[in-house]
């Protein structure tokens, strides 16, 4: 009995200690007591990252981490719009030098057809140093400390932190060259290798050279790729390297702002490649090493990832200039101050949206998006149709920011299909009729809570080539009425359908109803309602829609084989250039046969000719004119229903400063400032424990049990008698 009592008391004490911390802080605070007033940002991840290696990573949630660690040569200006590239590790944004086939320089305005090669010389700023890391640790005699580990030494290691020695060294141009070579490494799967091998001179052959070398050395041996020269990436001097690409490819500079082109030190690669490291999950794919403002100090993808300030960071200042209105919005309050502001960023695993939302409202996450479930609770629509923070959010001082994504979600017609595809007038008018009938404004209102813009063409707002207002409206689907676009009437669509030879949705020649097939990989809870809605849209034209809902794998297979008729697809911009959207309609980029991103397999020689001309041009009126012609061509041919561009809604607490949505940059953590004192105060105010319901419940249980106890006592007494 005494033992039981002690156990109960111990448990009670444990409960008190862990819940309250005996310091009056909120019981539901999930973070350690010492961190309450620390300069820490709290965020989350819902899926564990697959890759943190800059050669392999290509996913938003991975970029949220590695973009703070690795520094490619360039970055985007945080405040300027349209998106503008500025130097990061480089001393300047490189300019291309054009060469002809013989290697002779050509003038800047040389015709694209005359340019055989473009050469970019990139100079890195001296004095940038890597974060402290065991790969750079050295013995007193200067020899590397951890690059030739014995099995015995490795036995004592279970985590990277077990290596006590740390070192650093200066960033040099060789590290950038090394990373470009890594894109072709036989043991790595770089998602952009296929694309880059079309541009970087010799990269395709280089991959084959490395593959053979790896095969000769053995699969697990460390392949010293630095020994193998690559013509497309060469070292000029300690701080300068050269990238050589085929033809004119001005989009290369955008790639230079992505982690694929960030530096990797060879000794780091060698350190991680040692036998026995991978068995302990210690690899470059899990422990990134960079020169950026932060370094990954806790890497537990099963629970928590923590970024901490890099003590060797070279320093940078907050932008001094922005766009009109930025100053009034407080975005220039920190102009000129040294970056980064935050000491530490804690990312916790949060797989479900409901707990995330609740913790955000309690102040335990600093920012949040808005899921459909929470939309009505979070947002109200103003008189002009604009979104505003709802009362719940206003009461907590939460701010709402919206931005239009550099993306497009569209419905495509397979242009190889005999019914809806091809360049013939019949199919074109059928596609135009469907384009009018499917009411995207209604879709956005019903299924997306107004969080999207109906697209007028392939280029989203914010990207050069997009035109706002009346000139930017798709005249085949919309009329301009009273200063805004209005979808053409269903009668117009029906007339087109008659002209296409399908009066009342029946083939005029055979009299059979027209049955169309829509392929989609839909498994979400809202999908059934959406698909029912879609059937009704087609039914406006008396067209029957057969929905072939399938899993992701089968859907991909159908798309690759060209077996889909009408399908749903989407694209997020890699970089802010119209080429990154228009290339999805470029004939040689078709999915079927060429494995490109042209999912509709659209092919129009005029469009293709203009695309080839446009892609290598600099932004300006001439390029805009060509883009307008291209957009008009595809609007006329209607290989896509242009769909929508997502509107992103972001929420941040009152203690979170300098929040500015940026569709291109990922290295934005360094600009964020928080007020931890205010946060701590608000958390305490919002989360005071409410105990009376529990006490009432306990009392109720006691009262309910009373008759039973009385009855038991009576029964026992009766038995005793």
């Amino acid at each position: 009995m005494m033992l039981m009592k002690r156990v109960c008391l111990s448990l009670l004490a444990l409960m008190c200690y862990t819940l309250t911390g005996c310091d009056g802080r909120p019981w539901n605070n999930p973070y350690p007591a010492g961190d309450d007033r620390s300069n820490i940002l709290y965020s989350s991840f819902d899926q564990r990252p697959k890759h943190l290696d800059p050669a392999q990573s290509y996913v938003e949630n991975e970029y949220a981490l590695i973009a703070q660690i690795y520094e490619p040569p360039l970055q985007y200006d945080y405040l300027k719009r349209p998106y503008t590239l500025i130097p990061l590790a480089a001393s300047a944004v490189p300019k291309a030098v054009y060469l002809d086939k013989t290697g002779k320089p050509l003038p800047e305005n040389a015709a694209a057809g005359d340019i055989a090669y473009s050469v970019y010389d990139i100079t890195i700023r001296p004095g940038i140093r890597y974060q402290p890391h065991p790969a750079f640790a050295r013995h007193a005699d200067g020899s590397p400390r951890y690059l030739q580990l014995t099995p015995h030494e490795l036995d004592a290691v279970t985590r990277l932190q077990d290596f006590t020695g740390r070192g650093t060294r200066e960033l040099v141009a060789q590290d950038y060259v090394y990373q470009i070579k890594r894109l072709a490494h036989p043991r790595l799967e770089s998602p952009i290798f296929g694309l880059m091998s079309e541009y970087i001179v010799g990269l395709k052959a280089y991959a084959e050279t490395l593959r053979k070398a790896q095969a000769a050395q053995g699969r697990d041996a460390f392949l010293d790729i630095a020994q193998f020269p690559l013509e497309g990436a060469t070292l000029m001097d300690r701080y300068t390297y050269r990238i050589k690409v085929y033809g004119k490819y001005p989009q290369l500079v955008y790639w230079l702002a992505m982690p694929f082109f960030a530096p990797v030190a060879q000794e780091v690669d060698r350190f991680y490649a040692q036998r026995g490291m991978a068995e302990k999950n210690i690899s470059l794919d899990w422990y990134p090493v960079g020169t950026g403002p932060y370094m990954l100090t806790v890497n537990n993808p099963n629970r928590q990832m923590v970024l901490e300030r890099n003590p060797n960071y070279h320093g940078e200042t907050y932008p001094a200039a922005g766009m009109p209105g930025d100053r009034e919005a407080g975005l220039l309050a920190d102009a000129g101050k040294p970056l980064p502001f935050i000491d530490k960023a804690v990312y916790s695993l949060e797989k479900e949206s409901i707990p995330y939302w609740n913790k955000f409202l309690q102040g335990y996450y600093d920012t949040s998006g808005i899921s459909s479930d929470n939309f009505d609770q979070a947002v109200r629509v103003g008189l002009q149709g604009e979104a505003e923070a709802g009362e719940l959010l206003l009461a907590k001082g939460i701010r709402l920011r919206t931005s239009v994504g550099a993306d497009i979600s569209y419905m495509g017609f397979n242009m190889l299909d005999p019914v809806v595809g091809g360049a013939g007038e019949r199919a074109r008018k059928l596609r135009q009729a469907i384009s009018i009938a499917i009411d995207y404004e209604e879709l956005i209102s019903i299924f997306r809570n107004g969080r999207a813009l109906a697209a007028q063409g392939p280029i989203p707002p914010g990207i050069f080539g997009h035109v706002d207002g009346q000139d930017g409206v798709n005249p085949h689907v919309y009329d301009w009425v009273q200063g805004k676009p209005q979808r053409k009437s269903i009668e117009t669509a029906r007339r087109l359908l008659v002209e296409a030879g399908y009066p009342n949705g029946r083939d005029a020649q055979t009299g059979k109803p027209l049955l169309l097939h829509f392929d989609i990989a839909a498994s979400g809870p809202d999908d059934k309602a959406y698909l029912d809605w879609l059937r009704k849209q087609f039914a406006k034209l008396d067209l029957q829609l057969d929905i072939r809902n399938t899993d992701f794998n089968r859907f991909q297979e159908k798309m690759h084989k060209g077996n889909a008729q009408i399908f749903q697809w989407g694209w997020n911009a890699d970089y802010p250039d119209p080429e990154n959207f228009l290339f999805m309609l470029y004939g040689p980029n078709a999915k079927v046969g060429k494995n490109g991103e042209n999912a509709a397999n659209y092919s129009n020689p005029e469009f293709d000719r203009l695309f080839e001309q446009m892609k290598s041009m600099d932004n300006g009126p001439e390029r805009q004119a060509i883009i307008s012609r291209m957009v008009e061509t595809v609007r006329h041919d209607a290989p896509w229903l242009w769909g929508l561009h997502r509107k992103k809604f972001g929420l941040s607490h009152q203690w979170y400063h300098n929040a500015q949505p940026h569709e291109m940059a990922n290295n934005t953590l360094k600009y964020i400032r928080i007020d931890p004192v205010l946060r701590s105060r608000m958390r305490a105010e919002w989360n005071a424990p409410v105990l009376w319901p529990l006490i009432a419940l306990l009392a109720l249980l006691v009262i309910s049990a009373a008759p039973a106890v009385v009855s038991y006592v009576r029964r026992e007494r009766r038995a005793a008698k």
């Binding site: 862990t18 999930p30 890759h51 998602p191 629970r303 916790s348 309690q362 992701f552 409410v690 038991y712």
Partner: protein, 325 residues
């Protein structure tokens, strides 16, 4: 006893091969190695060469179960099935498709699973037995009737509702514990308290009703009448004699799940952000990571077989009449 255990271990080998084969067949009926590669590589800029490279790097470039281009035994051994399966029998789970060591991840993630599952089992068992004995004690009274009604109500509520409702009430409205998360050491207590309470409460309905039935059956037996005739208190009769004799069916249900406690709870871990093996399995299924799926299914099978063996052994401990031959 030892002969019995040895025999059961030998029986387990064909069972595990069968489970492995079935997992393999089911997985690859739905997914082809090309599909797995596409899921891992994403949908942007993926070339056929990249897909081939991904498969080669992970050994998915070989035929599934029969290699007609090989000779002799290699026709069976140089296949995806053989190469991915044999190592399992020495508990070498290999690497997940994203390159992490599965064994290491399992060893790390089983503790959070256990931190939830073990208290839920023990406290749940204690609560269910006590509540069932209470209903049995007050059989045919209002307490029994309302107890059964309560059990039916508790059984009828979806597990997901308990989780979301529990988080809403305890964490969001009353601010007693964090909504979700996990920590190590003593700090883990505040994170596991709510999942444990929810796990216990959601199991009361089914557990208590079942145990009540068992106890009612026992209460009608002669030895209970004898015990009462000896003048023992009703509490002693119930908690000592009845409970002891009702242990066999209770053990059947409990011991078999003991090893499976390591495997965690799929939904609970997901909602509470507990980094256990349940969420590990769900993630692997979503990511079409065959390496992890087969490892978890294999581990589950092994643990289930161990559970059944332990159940048989436990019979001998609680009932001297049972002999394992």
């Amino acid at each position: 006893m030892m002969a019995y255990i040895a025999r059961r271990i030998l029986y387990a080998i064909p069972i595990l091969i069968g489970v492995n084969l079935l997992t393999f067949a089911l997985f690859f009926v739905v997914n082809k190695p090309d599909d797995m590669a596409r899921v891992h590589l994403g949908v942007k800029h993926v070339t056929p060469q990249a897909i081939e490279k991904w498969k080669t790097e992970r050994g998915y470039d070989k035929p599934l179960v029969f290699n007609s281009s090989a000779d002799g035994a290699a026709q069976f051994t140089d296949t995806i099935f053989f190469r991915k399966s044999v190592s399992l029998f020495v508990f070498d789970f290999g690497r997940s498709d994203d390159g992490r060591d599965i064994g290491l991840d399992i060893r790390e993630r089983m503790w959070p699973s256990l931190a939830i599952a073990l208290p839920v089992l023990l406290i749940g068992l204690l609560t269910n037995i006590t509540f069932a004995l209470l209903m049995a004690f007050f059989r045919a009274t209002y307490i029994d009737v309302w107890g059964v009604v309560l059990c039916v109500v508790l059984m009828s509520i979806s597990g997901l509702f308990y989780i979301i409702g529990g988080q809403y009430l305890i964490s969001k409205l009353l601010h007693i514990v964090p909504v979700s998360g996990y920590d190590t050491g003593l700090q883990a207590f505040k994170f596991i308290l709510l999942p444990v309470v929810i796990g216990v409460v959601s199991g009361i309905g089914a557990g208590s009703r079942w145990y009540r039935t068992i106890f009612l059956e026992e209460i009608g037996k002669d030895y209970v009448r004898t015990a009462r005739a000896k003048g023992l208190s009703e509490l002693r009769v119930l908690f000592y004699h009845v409970l002891k004799n009702a242990m066999i069916p209770i053990l059947t249900g409990v011991v078999v799940v003991l090893p499976l406690l390591f495997m965690g709870s799929l939904i609970m871990e997901s909602f509470f952000g507990i980094p256990g093996l349940g969420s590990y399995t769900i993630d692997a299924i979503n990511a079409q990571d065959f390496a992890v799926v087969r490892a978890m299914v294999f581990l589950g099978s092994v643990l289930y077989i161990i559970g059944l063996m332990l159940t048989d052994i436990s019979y001998t401990l609680v009932d001297p009449r049972v002999r394992l031959g």
